[in-house]
Symmetry: none
DNA sequence: AATGAATGAGCCTTCATTCAT
DNA sequence: GATGAATGAAGGCTCATTCAT
């Protein structure tokens, strides 16, 4: 990871390297990306990577960590209040908003897509701190909506269906634009997308809950 | 592409190369994969790639094409009969069955995942003849279920939500296994998964249709 | 060399191969030329080279032999009559005419230039039959002009000066055209070039002979 | 070209590479020469070529440039004084001396021969600054000797005859040694060769001048 | 903290050649 | 006599990494 030196200049170099590396890794992938191109964009030289990150792979790991930790999604997910349906809606909205937030590095989705297609050790390292807590939170909300009678497997599958829809927007924006040109992705569309996913998922969740309840009664 | 010669021996060599290349490209990605490893597994030598496919990238293109054309998904999607809800259910079942079909190359999902994260020219080449017809068929079924009053954007978003759920199982099986261990993926589970996605999606579609109809009446 | 089979078809294939190989070897040089390009132009396939000439190098040797034996220069040089100055003029004229003869393969000069810059075993093989007799003839004429008093070294140097001028037109036509655009090389110019070389050389030879004679008298 | 860095160590490596490359390119030609052999002789490794010259061809271009710029021939040709005949004699002497100068790389002639037989882009690059000025100087001297009445074409042809004789010694030393063993090339012979070429050429030039003058008077 | 020089490893590609048909 | 298939060998080039400054 990042070295421990506290120099402002050193930290600035690290930041520039991660920023440039994020772009290049996203455009080319881990192996096709070259340190030459990364350091050219960062305005440093190749040896700087070695100095600050030891090697190419640790620079990539830093990029992955940054991609997963720089959004709002990474914080404060447990302190939400209100009925579970509202919290699910808020969570989905936050995820989608992050995905299209122009203030966040645009390469985040692609990096995550790469890790999804071909997980590296870098992903493993951030699984425990960043992904799993988030996932537990989502599972808890879904469980709350479905009620205690739902099997753990059902809760999992429902959550997966929700997560899948969000991820679909995060990665593969290119394909999406080609296949579904109507689903425009402008700034005003972000809330609509979030609303659609929430509507779609809550409708399904309510139907499942109804069925669970009715099946109990009939027994 | 594959050369046009019809010799049985030549075709067999091509087949072995695509099979081996599929594995290696899936494991390592386009750039990290080496022809050495591919030809070792195929039992040929590196020059054979040049002879049959001209270069590494055209071999990769052949692999992508094979990944998208070898399942049942690629055929016969328009000749289904019956009410649209049944056809959607059948379609989803076919997709999921393909995804877990042990007779199909297991690397298909990963290759598609790679292309999703970082589309290459190879994908573009199969877009028109393989992906778009399939997509049009799905859109048509969803449109039929929602009725003529649904906007094109709504149809698109609904379809995307369905596609997203299927794709989630196709790619990123690793992550999935880690985050949702309950959603076991054994042979008997395949039908359950398909049933879940169909239930989930149809519940949402029906809710949307109801809302479309009620909103008309109230106006 | 060429195989001994007498089939008309076989001979025709050999001829086409030599013709095509001459072009390609001249354009690219021995090593940069590929059998692929040669056989493409000859309308055969790579294995034909192997069949008729055993390997690439023997095909090249056949080309070198053809380049040196197809002009008039290769024949009848000893049967000329008349005073030696006329015979030298005729010989030079024949050489220059050959160089620009459109009926002869245009790649002859370049092939000879390659051999001059970097002699191969192919040249050695034609030295004895083709080049040395020709050279002996030229030396004899020069000796006749200079008279018996000239040293062998002087005869050699004089002959070299003559040969050098002819060779200069044979090889490096490109450079020549660039450096001396006035010395136009059209059909009518061929005789002029030959006349110039003869005038130039004979003037020098006569001056040398005069000096040899006068130096004897003064002694 | 050679990179612009001024580091002494870098320059030394470049020098060693050019020296070794000159030898190997001369022995084998541009295409048959391998970087392996070059870097073996230079005591570096293959990647050094990439670092200092980018690729094989630019190394070759540097060799060509060095071959044409390292002799005395490349400098000070215009500041000669005295009557034009003396200056021509001096120029020829300088050229021939350079050709046999043991302090200069022995591969110069062969490299130039290769370029003459098959000009590459490397030659084009040195044409304007190295070859053309030299050629203009030679043309000027010849014009001065022949007088203003000589046509430009005559001046060109005369100059070509002189250049041809010099080039003949520069390239194709192998052939020369075989065909004209008497024209020995030892150190003491260098001046003799230069004297012969000057004598031969001046005799021809004087004869041409005489003819020009007499033809005027008779008209 | 940063940089220019240098290098070893490895990859894709090309090509002449061989073989079976 | 000719051709498609296959292959071993080798070459040029790229790149991450190390080292001295």
């Amino acid at each position: 990871m990042v070295n421990v030196k506290d120099n402002a200049s050193s930290r600035e170099t690290c930041r520039k390297l991660i920023e440039a590396a994020g772009e290049v890794f996203a455009e080319r992938g881990l192996h096709a990306a070259t340190l030459q191109e990364i350091t050219d964009r960062a305005g440093t030289n190749k040896a700087a990577v070695n100095y600050h990150f030891h090697d190419k792979f640790e620079l990539y790991a830093a990029v992955v960590r940054h991609a997963l930790s720089c959004g709002s999604m990474a914080h404060l997910i447990e302190d939400m209040e209100g009925p579970p349906e509202d919290r699910l809606r808020a969570l989905i909205n936050r995820i989608i908003t992050d995905i299209f937030d122009p203030a966040l590095p645009p390469w985040r989705g692609t990096i995550i897509g790469h890790e999804l297609a071909q997980p590296t050790a870098a992903l493993e390292a951030v699984m425990t701190d960043l992904i799993e807590p988030h996932n537990r939170c989502q599972l808890a909300i879904v469980r709350e909506i479905l009620g205690p009678r739902a099997s753990q497997q059902l809760v999992s599958q429902m959550t997966m269906s929700i997560v899948a829809q969000c991820l679909f927007y995060l990665q593969g924006k290119e394909i999406l634009r080609r296949l579904f040109p109507e689903a425009t992705l402008d700034a005003s569309g972000v809330d609509k997308i979030a609303a659609h996913i929430a509507d779609f998922s809550l409708a399904a969740l309510r139907a499942a809950r109804r069925q669970l309840n009715s099946s109990r009664r009939t027994r």
